[in-house]
Symmetry: C2
């Protein structure tokens, strides 16, 4: 067994999560293009494709390169990349071995993408803001952005958004509604420019079950493969579905609490305003990580007996994507045997 703290994946739960999403997508006529930033793992991407996913979404050119090196041939960089000389050359090279598209969210960015990448087979999707207020143009401006890309020689595949404001209590359904309205408006705006919109893409794990299949042609959830304490606390995934935990050792009973060796360098320090702590214990629903530092997680067990010093427990990170990006491998299996899957795209932020 690896030394704690290490990330474990329950392969049965992983497969159930993958299958459930694939079945929902199939039943509703929505293509699935899962976000690979969550797992950064070619093994899991291949499982997703085997279950019918049309391709993989990524957040960076480096992630796209990693997945392409592992044989994945349809990649969407859902990000408004700034196309400097290096990025342009890397995307042209990628287009030689993979179907590839990138995001644009401004007339200037779309013009640049069309000019630099249009003849090289890299398509664009126009990102619109559906309420998270991060990137993306207003839906009504999607037509102008798409037209700029086309005018500069680019191929426009469609429109996309990330309804990240679904990460709030009771916002899952309303964010999905915002997503559908923004994407429908964006589609209308692009079509008004005389352009076709083959792909209308959205999706986040909290909003996924509420996806409006009359509007979206494609969904890009990421976290659904593993789940985490954020999904548990939002109510979008029950603890029984959580497929990724950090195995940790109790190292101290200082102050009458259990102190674990799974600190922020193993769990990540991500914490939404709605989170009730810095992580959960899978087998102790009332327990909370009440203090997280780099190498310590102090757990309040809510009156339950303390596990012994030396015992191992399974901690559910708040945000699985951030925890996975700290690890060089995922350990897949159960106590009968674990095998490592490399986190091949770890740290590939560029």
């Amino acid at each position: 067994m690896p030394a704690t703290p290490y990330l474990r994946v329950d392969p049965v739960r992983l497969r159930q999560n993958l299958r459930r999403a694939a079945e929902w997508a199939g039943a509703n006529g929505v293509a699935l293009r899962p976000h690979g930033k969550t797992h950064k793992s070619p093994e899991i991407a291949m499982m997703q494709l085997d279950l019918g996913a049309v391709g993989i979404t990524v957040a960076s050119v480096g992630e796209a390169e990693t997945f392409a090196e592992h044989g994945i041939t349809d990649l969407f960089v859902a990000y408004p990349l700034h196309l400097d000389e290096q990025k342009t050359a890397r995307l042209r090279a990628l287009a030689g071995r993979s179907r590839i598209a990138i995001g644009v969210d401004s007339v200037e960015g779309a013009t640049r993408a069309g000019q630099l990448l249009g003849r090289h087979g890299v398509e664009v999707l126009v990102e619109v803001d559906s309420g998270q207020h991060r990137t993306g143009c207003p839906p009504a401006e999607a037509g102008a952005v798409a037209a700029a890309a086309a005018l500069a020689g680019g191929e426009v595949r469609g429109v996309f958004t990330f309804p990240g404001h679904s990460y709030a209590p009771d916002a899952m359904a309303s964010a999905a509604g915002d997503e559908a309205r923004a994407l429908a408006a964006a589609r209308t705006a692009v079509e008004a420019e005389g352009l076709e919109v083959p792909v209308v893409s959205g999706g986040s794990t909290p909003s996924f079950a509420h996806t409006d299949a009359d509007v979206l042609t494609e969904a890009r959830p990421g976290v659904y493969v593993f789940g985490d304490a954020q999904q548990w606390e939002l109510g979008s995934m029950p603890p029984e579905s959580i497929a990724l935990t950090c195995r940790a050792t109790v190292v101290s009973h200082a102050g009458g609490r259990a102190v674990l060796d799974s600190g922020g360098k193993a769990l990540a320090a991500d914490r939404g305003a709605y989170n009730t702590g810095a992580g959960r214990l899978l087998d102790h629903p009332d327990a909370r990580v009440v203090l997280l530092s780099e190498h310590h997680a102090v757990v309040d067990l809510a009156g339950a007996p303390l596990p012994r010093v030396g015992d191992e427990v399974d901690v559910v990170p708040n945000h699985c994507c951030a925890a996975v990006n700290l690890a060089d491998e995922l350990w897949v299996g159960d106590d009968g045997g674990l095998r490592p899957w490399p986190v091949a795209a770890r740290g590939r932020n560029s």
Copy 2:
């Protein structure tokens, strides 16, 4: 130049920070044993030793192994390790090539350490809680813990604490006072057992300038090498001393704000209750990272003109230790030339 986002180190500021701490320690008769978890870099550890540090502190056996492989011969694992079979064997192997000590914070842990490691040359220091309430026994119990180690065959080097409650506004001096009182009481308790206490060790970057040199023989600050937005906002290091930044590219002006490619996977999501945002811009003191997701940092520039899309800016992470642990290398130098220093102990949490 590497592609953004990447971590840059200003070597002039780094050396100034190292020298300033070394001079303070020398002038006050306190040995410096800097914490290597901040930089995880053999190059910087060697600079610290060249400037008079007596050894390097680490948080895990893996960090100790990494530094030992790079020729560092005096290491203290300031952590109450649980000594399973693997850890015990690894520590015995380390003791063959490096002077090494570990932390203990209970009678049981001290007994185990004495039994398993005492004959193998691994010393122990007793950790006491000086107010952070994380690990460490109460100071009055340090005598019993030390006596247990000695009875089991262990060599007791002394006592230590981490005054982590110094990470709060206006708590720097008071936490240093708590540290000195706790360590003085612990020393008395250990001496009452008839044991010598050659080392009385404390230190955090915020409390460092307030160290009670009459009590402490050794200090273990970590962050002081780089500084970060936490130190800036606590007032313990001015922005002019910050030696580590994340170089980021402006990728979007969505919503009239600058969106950078330095997300939480580059900056880390650490955020103290006193932090005013998720990061700062080195050259725009009024700006704040107001929204951080995995690959996006949305910046409010407080009315200053937006940098252009494609421009690069220097972001100060909230917590440099966490940001460094996300990167495979630090890029050291200036725009005239950067050279990579490996983050050799990245991810070595076990």
